[in-house]
Symmetry: C3
């Protein structure tokens, strides 16, 4: 799957080793990726979202990755498979032009004492690596990263530019961290004494397991006593706050702008919508789905889809009316009570 | 309008070329800006918000920028105009002491191969510029920025300190990016296959058109296939997340802490309040206003003001009661049904 | 309280100067901190949250910090005190292994002209310090920080790695700023004129008073005319946005992902839950508590606990039903009106 500097590939090459049935010419040459509606000759597209099926008959794509069901309506070469989005992700990797930095340490990087840096690792310009840091084979530390002492970066892990790791942070293999993310800052531990806040030292670490991906400008606090842990295969989008002592299970996906307060545990295989907030000290079961902008105020014990608040986008005028009425629900309940009493009286009178 | 090192100007100088009528002495010397309530002799203030009109009669300001209507009550020199806040912005520019860096490349900057950097551009200390980057006339790249390969920075664009641009990002003219912002990180594209998430390569770019301003610690993801685009004249505040493939139209203003999920399109001349979240794959028309902390869960087809949820700030005790009652609405409906049935029965009996 | 390189201490040493009564052997040697449920011999734990009291009888800790009431059930050495969490914070400081950098200026740092840097201060690798910056005794500027001209950093203040300060920012004594935070970026001041937004110059500064702590990846905008101010002893968590001209009072604690719009004033000794948003130009009294994810849409005049929206986490199916019903409240009110009219008619008929 490793992309070469080549720009074009036959369908046979692109699908080698993948569970794909090609209906059409497997020698067709593909030089790029496009959307089904905008593809031109020589490009490959995919179809997953039914909204886009209407473009299938007219697409100019040289090939389309799609399901057996959709393949019936395909007028160009079809790459039929069970999981078109996954197959697309594998084929798209051939056209990924993300720069791959050279191995070695840039002369402008500042390296601490007692570090073990594998010769196949890449340390970018102006990086600052603290003492006793271990950087494994094929790891990439991009320009401007600062890595605290005693950190360990696993094989083939990649820190994009301007990432900050505090001391004693452990990243396992194939971990990816996007720019601006901060890992290992002190958790928000403060104790009030005589009217003033006092800092509670944060003595734990952060452990990031293999194949975790964290987006840009996130903040992952170190544990207060034990460690903050993100287990293998979980994926975090941008601008996410993970408080101290949080545990995120395996293969959980969390969209952008989510905040997770301290000491909360999220299970395996969860899906969390953007803008959601989690209270502290709660536990979320495995396989839970939470819709966007939900306030998760308590533990969730069984797998299901959860939401909070009141849905519905309204014109502001309507919304003001509705909100006002909601705040007068008390009054409504009172009117119903009055009605019930009056009716009972009437009925009694009738029956006596 | 270019501010000099001078610290004082006559009203005539300050208003040259602006549509302002000076009622009073246009030779008055102004040495600074202040609020209408705190201004002292020699300072200029402005009046826009009616809440502050009560300070007008007593202000010690040497001049006040205001509308014709407010000018009637002005006891000091009046700068009468149609748009006092805009005129203020032009006059305030004379007193802006934001440092303007010198042209040239700081010796500590690391510059890649094949770059074209205009001699009037400024590259700050410890910047890292990738290969084949183009930086145009009068552009400013402040200290600690990292710019990926093949980026293009237009004329007079300004990156504040510690901004990160991934590869192949295009900024047009007069684009301003505040510190800590990350542009071009991978979008959150993941495909589940056999119980594990697989990264979907993000092959698009980010295009930022002229006169766009982006605040601090924002994240703007690159497109998955096509590009993420912010059109000319739009203004983004701090800590905003813009997902992959998002299009933001012209002259749209977005307040802080907003999240825009992938593939959403926002129109021209929109106003978006702080803390708002947009679902993915939706379209917002031109001239739409969205109030703060709204969950924009579906497309908006016509210009209006929109909100979601239930407004109103309550004491927590009251709020708990209200929330509980809302969750028993079902019960309320049941009681009304019972009443209706009973009443119908009574009425029938009466009429038979 | 200054932690040494030693790894173990007697209980007598750990509690010297603290109001703690030791019930048990004050010569016990403690070599680390743990939670009450996981502690082993030689470790010290604390008990504050009643949820954890059940672990007290079986704990393997060599000592537990707790209240007089809980001490009754303690089977190991008890450190009895009024405020166990505060006492814990003091004892934990002995075991804090956060690296303390050496005094002096790293040779890779770039220092401007006319700076005053105390010889006991530490300036990390690849820092960029602008002209005329003052850095006081024992201050720490960690690697990769960029500090604008005319900033002042007070005694024993500490900037973690990759912090950005714009020009003319003032930090008092013992201020702590975590990585990625940006202080002094331009406020979101824009004026519309002839269909286009124009930038309003931001001429104020940011003043951070003593003992303030700010988390990671926050953004604190400079004032438009006057200054943005955070008063002494206040504590801010991560990913918080503070708009221009905001004033935050003394000893106020603000959890993560909070946004405060421009010109808002927050009082002393407030507690703000995570994900909360404040409208602009409002005033919050002292001693106010705001629960998480609240929309603070108006001023708060008296101390109490405040919330907004509709609480309650529901299964999505239930939530959809509820939301739909709320949007039909109008219809419910109509039905009650009809009932009232019918009942009145019936009653009248009866009484005539």
């Amino acid at each position: 799957m490793s992309p070469s500097q080549r720009k074009s590939f036959s369908l046979a090459e692109l699908t080698q080793g993948l569970e794909v049935k090609i209906i059409g010419d497997s020698n067709s040459i593909i030089y790029g990726i496009s959307t089904i509606q905008q593809a031109r000759l020589g490009q490959i597209a995919f179809l997953v979202n039914p909204l886009y099926k209407r473009y299938l008959t007219d697409t100019q794509a040289s090939a389309v990755i799609l399901s057996a069901e959709d393949a019936k309506d395909c007028t160009t070469t079809a790459l039929v498979c069970h999981d078109p989005y996954y197959i697309y992700s594998r084929i798209a990797a051939f056209f990924d032009d993300k720069p791959r930095p050279l191995a070695g340490i840039h002369p402008s990087a500042v390296i601490g004492q007692g570090c073990q840096i594998d010769s196949s690792a890449s340390i970018g310009a102006n990086c600052v690596i603290g003492n006793h840091v271990v950087i494994s084979a094929n790891a990439v530390i991009s320009a401007g990263c600062v890595i605290g002492e005693y950190c360990e970066i696993g094989e083939a892990s990649c820190l994009d530019a301007n990432v900050t790791l505090y001391h004693k942070i452990t990243l396992s293999k194939r971990v990816t961290i996007a720019s601006g993310t901060v890992i290992g800052s002190d958790g928000f531990g403060i104790a009030k004494h005589q009217g003033r806040w006092h800092k509670v030292p944060q003595l734990g670490r952060v452990i990031i397991e293999e194949d975790v991906e964290i987006g840009a400008n996130c903040t992952i606090d170190r544990g207060a006593i034990e460690d903050t842990v993100i287990e293998k295969g979980s994926k975090l989008d941008n601008l996410i706050q993970v408080g101290h002592n949080v545990k995120i299970g395996r293969h959980t996906a969390i969209a952008g702008c989510v905040g997770i307060a301290g000491s909360t545990t999220i299970g395996n295989d969860c899906l969390v919508g953007g803008g959601t907030g989690f209270a502290g000290h709660i536990t979320i079961a495995d396989n839970v789905v939470i819709t966007g902008m939900t306030a998760v105020s308590k533990s969730i014990r069984e797998p299901d889809i959860y939401s909070s608040g009141v849905g519905g986008l309204l014109k502001n005028k309507e919304w003001r009316k509705n909100s006002a009425r909601l705040h007068r629900l008390d009054h409504l309940v009172q009117r119903i009570k009055t009605l019930e009493a009056a009716l009972e009286k009437l009925t009694e009178r009738k029956e006596t």
